[in-house]
C-alpha cells in the first residue's frame, strides 16, 4: 500500500507519478493543458526562494505552480 501524498510534500529531486488531479473547472483545465494528468511522471526540481512556488519537470519540460495548487495533485512515489 502506498500512502497518498500530495505534490507539495515531495522533496527537491524526488520523482513521482501523478495519481489524481483533484480539481475541475478552470484550474483543472489549465493543469491538463500543461500535461498534468494521472499517470504522468514528474520530478521536483526545486522551490522558489520563499519555498513557494515549486518547480517541477514533466514530459521533458519545466513547469511551476504554487504550493496550494500542488496540494490538489495526489502522487505516488516510485521505487
Amino acid at each position: 500500500m502506498t500512502d497518498a501524498i500530495t505534490l507539495r510534500q515531495l522533496q527537491p529531486g524526488q520523482r513521482a507519478t501523478i495519481k489524481k488531479v483533484g480539481t475541475s473547472g478552470e484550474l483543472g483545465r489549465r493543469m491538463r493543458e500543461m500535461g498534468l494528468l494521472p499517470g504522468t511522471e514528474i520530478q521536483v526540481l526545486g522551490r522558489a526562494p520563499l519555498k513557494d512556488p515549486v518547480e517541477i519537470k514533466l514530459r521533458g519540460y519545466n513547469l511551476t505552480l504554487r504550493n496550494n495548487e500542488a496540494d490538489l495533485i495526489t502522487v505516488e512515489i516510485g521505487e
Binding site: V21, S24, E26, L27, G28, R29, R30, M31, R32, E33, M34, G35, L36, L37, P38, L45, G46, A48, P49, L50, K51, D52, P53, E55, K57, R59, G60, Y61, N62, L63, T64, L65, R66, E69
Partner: protein
C-alpha cells in the same frame, strides 16, 4: 489577380512561433491590437516563388478551449476567417505537450502543416524524432526546422502553400474518448446534425465534444436556441453524472486523458532517446539562478545592471533628441513672427511632444533590456522568484517587471511600465498592476526630488533618495492591496506557468521586439499627447497680460537701469503673466484645498503643470518664483531661492515631495492606461485614486509634522 493565400501561425508560447514568423516575413510585418481585447495581433507577408503569401500570427496558446482571451482570439480567427492553411509551430524538444494543441487543431479539422521547430534543441537533449513517421501517423505534412537559424523555412513555406493550393475540405479528426463519452458525443451530434442552426461549417461532432467539455462560449451559443438547449443539456448532464459515478471524474478531463493517450501513442513511435540526459544545462542554471540566496542576489544585480545600462546607453541620444527639439523650436521661432502662433508651435507642440519623444532613446533601451530578459527565458524566473512576495499584495509574479520598468529602481518610466503588464494574464491582477505603476519613482520625478532635497536636505541626498524609493514601493504595494480588497476583489488566478529553457536571444528577435514597442510609444506621442499638450499650453498662456499692462511693462523694461535689472524685471513680468493665466488662476483657486498641506499658489500652478509631465514642475516653479525658465537639470539657483523663501521649510518640502510622488500620473501614462485597459474609466480612476492618496498622505505628514513641532 487572385487573393493571396493566408497562412495562420498557431503554437504554444515558447515554441519559437515568433522566430518562425520573423523568419518568414522579415521586415514585412506590422502589429495591431485585436478589437476589444489587449491581445496583440501581427500580420505580415512572405514571398513564395515571387508570390505574396499573407501570414497571420495568432497568439500563443496551449489549447483551443475558450478560456483565456488569447485562446478565444485564436479559435474565433480560425473558425471565422478560415485561413487557407494553419501552420502549427511545435517545439520538437517538448513534443508531447505541444502536440496537445496540434490534436485540437486536427479535431477542429483545419488544413494543417506542422512545423517541427527547434530540432537543434531536441538533438542536444539526446532526442531523435522521426518526422516522416510523425507525418504519416498524423496524416499532415511535418517540416523539421530551426527557425532561429533560418533552417527549413523554404520547405515550410512550400509545404504550406501546397496545402493551401489543394484547397482541402475541413476534415475533423475523430478520436475515441472511451465508450461512455463516445456514446454521449454521438447522441449530441445526432441532435446537432438535425438542428436548423448549423454554426458555420463546424462539424456536429466537434460541437458535441465542446458541449460535453462544458466550453463556455459554445454553451452560451447553444442556450440562444432554447429548443436545442432543451434537447442537448439533459444529455450533457446525464453523461457527466454517469462519468462522475463510475469513474469519479469529469467529461472534460476524460477527453483530455484520451487526447494525451492518443499523443503518447504517437510519440512513442516517433521519438527515441539516444542517451539519457540527466540534467541539462538549463536545469543546472536554474539551480543557481533560482537558488534561495543566489537567486534574489542575481535578480538584484540584473536589475541594477539594466538600470545602469539604460541610463548609460541613452544618455547621449537623449541629449541629441533634446538638441534636435531645441533646434527645431529655434528654427520655428525665428521663422515666425513672435506671437500666439509662434508660442503655440514652439511651446505647445514642439515643447509638449518633444518632451515625451525626447525620452524615446531611454525607452528604446529599456525595451531592449526587457526583450533580452524575455527572450532569454529569465523573465519567467523573475516571476517565479517574486510571486510569493507579490501575492501578499494581490499582485502576480509577473507584475514585478512592470513595477521595475516604471521606476521601481528610480529613473524608469510609467508608460512602458503600463505596457509591460501585458505579460499578465489575470485581468484583475493586471489592472491592479497598471494602477500601481504610477506610484513608482519615474525619471521625471527625479528633478523635482533633487531640487527639493538640495534645498532642504542637502546633507542627506543619497539617504533621502533611497528612502523615497522605499516609500514608493511601500505605498505602491499598499495601494495595490487596497485595490485588491475593494474594487478589484476576486480570487487569485492560478500560477501554473511554463519555465522555458534558457536560450541565447537572437539579435534579429531583439531588434524586432524593441522596434515594435518603441514605435508604438512614439506613435502615441504624436497623437493623443499632442492634443493635450496644446490644451496645457493654452491653460498656461491665456488670458495673459492685457494690452495696458503689457504697455506698462514695456515702459518699465525700457527704463531698466542695467542688464541684470532688466532680466529681473523680465522674470517678474513672466511671474505676473503666469499668475493671470487659467493655470495660474486654478493654482490660486486651489489654495483653499492645498493650504492644509502647506502648498501656496505657486506650488499649485507647478503641480497643475506637472500633470502634463512631471519635469514641468521645476520649470513652472522657476517662473512662479520669478527666476524665469529653469532648466530641470540645473536648478541650483531655484534651490537656493526656495531655501531662503519664507514659508518654505523641510516639512513643507517633504510633504510636496510625497505629493509629487503619488499624485495623478502624467498625461502620457493616463493615455497609456486608457489604451491598455480599453476604457477611460480606469484612466480617470487612476487620476482620482492617486491624487486622493497623495492628498491624504501630504495632509497627514504636514499636519502631523506641525503638531510635532517640525514645521
Amino acid at each position: 489577380m487572385t487573393r493571396p493565400y493566408t497562412i495562420a501561425l498557431a503554437g504554444n508560447p515558447n515554441a519559437g512561433k515568433t522566430s518562425v514568423f520573423n523568419a518568414l516575413t522579415g521586415a514585412r510585418q506590422h502589429v495591431g491590437n485585436y478589437p476589444g481585447v489587449t491581445v496583440e495581433y501581427k500580420e505580415g507577408s512572405a514571398l513564395h516563388e515571387g508570390k505574396k503569401v499573407a501570414v497571420v500570427d495568432l497568439p500563443g496558446t496551449y489549447s483551443l478551449t475558450a478560456y483565456s482571451p488569447e485562446e478565444l482570439v485564436s479559435r474565433n480567427y480560425l473558425i471565422g476567417q478560415r485561413p487557407d492553411v494553419v501552420v502549427d509551430v511545435v517545439d520538437a524538444s517538448n513534443l508531447e505537450r505541444n502536440l496537445y494543441l496540434a490534436v485540437q487543431l486536427m479535431e477542429l479539422g483545419v488544413p494543417l502543416v506542422i512545423c517541427l521547430n527547434m530540432m537543434d534543441v531536441a538533438k542536444t537533449r539526446g532526442l531523435r524524432i522521426d518526422a516522416a513517421k510523425l507525418s504519416q501517423l498524423l496524416g499532415v505534412p511535418v517540416v523539421p526546422t530551426v527557425a532561429r537559424q533560418n533552417q527549413g523555412m523554404d520547405d515550410l513555406l512550400a509545404a504550406a502553400v501546397q496545402v493551401a493550393q489543394s484547397a482541402p475540405e475541413w476534415r475533423p479528426l475523430n478520436i475515441s474518448y472511451g465508450s461512455d463519452v463516445d456514446q454521449g458525443v454521438a447522441e449530441l451530434a445526432d441532435i446537432l446534425q438535425g438542428a436548423q442552426e448549423r454554426r458555420g461549417l463546424l462539424s456536429a461532432r466537434w460541437l458535441a465534444v465542446k458541449c460535453l467539455e462544458g466550453d463556455q462560449e459554445v454553451m452560451d451559443r447553444v442556450r440562444e436556441t432554447p429548443e436545442l438547449a432543451d434537447k442537448l443539456l439533459p444529455v450533457c448532464r446525464r453523461v457527466a453524472a454517469h462519468i462522475k459515478s463510475t469513474m469519479d471524474d469529469d467529461p472534460d478531463s476524460i477527453v483530455a486523458d484520451y487526447r494525451y493517450g492518443y499523443i503518447t501513442g504517437i510519440t512513442r513511435q516517433v521519438v527515441s532517446s539516444e542517451r539519457e540526459v540527466r540534467m541539462d544545462l538549463s536545469d543546472k542554471l536554474d539551480q543557481v539562478l533560482t537558488h534561495r540566496l543566489m537567486g534574489p542576489l542575481f535578480l538584484f544585480l540584473v536589475l541594477y545592471g539594466i538600470y545602469n545600462f539604460v541610463f548609460w546607453a541613452s544618455e547621449v541620444p537623449v541629449v541629441w533628441f533634446e538638441h534636435f527639439f531645441a533646434w527645431l523650436g529655434g528654427v520655428v521661432e525665428s521663422a515666425l513672427p513672435p506671437g500666439v502662433l509662434s508660442s503655440l508651435i514652439v511651446s505647445g507642440v514642439i515643447g509638449g511632444v518633444g518632451g515625451v519623444l525626447g525620452f524615446t532613446p531611454l525607452i528604446a533601451f529599456m525595451f531592449f533590456a526587457i526583450a533580452v530578459m524575455e527572450d532569454s527565458g529569465y523573465m519567467a524566473r523573475v516571476a517565479y522568484i517574486m510571486d510569493r512576495v507579490l501575492r501578499i499584495f494581490g499582485l502576480h509574479g509577473n507584475s514585478v517587471m512592470a513595477l521595475m520598468v516604471a521606476g521601481g529602481i528610480s529613473g524608469g518610466c510609467a508608460v512602458p511600465g503600463v505596457m509591460a503588464t501585458r505579460t499578465l494574464k489575470d485581468p484583475k491582477a493586471r489592472l491592479a498592476t497598471i494602477l500601481t505603476v504610477p506610484f513608482m519613482n519615474c525619471g521625471a520625478k527625479l528633478p523635482v526630488y533633487s531640487l527639493l532635497i538640495a534645498a532642504f536636505f542637502a546633507h542627506f541626498q543619497a539617504e533621502m533618495l533611497f528612502l523615497l524609493t522605499l516609500i514608493s514601493w511601500g505605498l505602491g504595494l499598499g495601494a495595490a492591496k487596497l485595490l485588491r480588497v475593494t474594487v478589484l476583489k476576486g480570487e487569485q488566478t492560478p500560477f501554473v506557468m511554463e519555465l522555458p529553457p534558457y536560450r541565447a536571444p537572437t539579435i534579429k528577435g531583439l531588434v524586432i521586439h524593441t522596434w515594435e514597442r518603441t514605435w508604438q510609444y512614439a506613435k502615441k506621442a504624436g497623437t493623443m499627447i499632442l492634443g493635450v499638450s496644446v490644451l496645457m499650453w493654452a491653460a498656461m498662456s491665456f488670458p495673459g497680460l492685457g494690452p495696458e499692462q503689457d504697455a506698462a511693462w514695456q515702459k518699465r523694461l525700457a527704463a531698466a537701469p542695467g542688464q541684470t535689472a532688466g532680466l529681473e524685471l523680465k522674470a517678474e513680468r513672466a511671474r505676473q503673466e503666469l499668475a493671470g493665466t487659467l493655470a495660474g488662476q486654478a493654482g490660486q483657486a486651489l489654495t483653499a484645498v492645498t493650504a492644509p498641506l502647506g502648498f501656496d499658489w505657486r506650488a499649485n500652478v507647478a503641480l497643475v503643470g506637472g500633470f502634463a509631465a512631471k519635469e514641468i514642475i521645476v520649470s513652472t516653479l522657476g517662473v512662479a518664483y520669478s527666476l524665469g525658465e529653469v532648466d530641470p537639470e540645473h536648478s541650483q539657483s531655484l534651490s537656493k531661492r526656495l531655501a531662503a523663501e519664507p514659508g518654505w521649510n523641510p516639512l513643507k518640502a517633504f510633504a510636496l515631495i510625497l505629493f509629487v510622488m503619488v499624485y495623478a500620473p502624467c498625461l502620457a501614462t493616463v493615455v497609456m492606461i486608457r489604451r491598455e485597459t480599453g476604457t477611460w474609466r480606469w484612466a480617470m480612476f487612476s487620476v482620482a485614486y492617486n491624487t486622493l492618496i497623495a492628498y491624504l498622505l501630504a495632509l497627514v505628514v504636514y499636519q502631523g509634522g506641525k503638531a510635532l513641532g517640525l514645521g
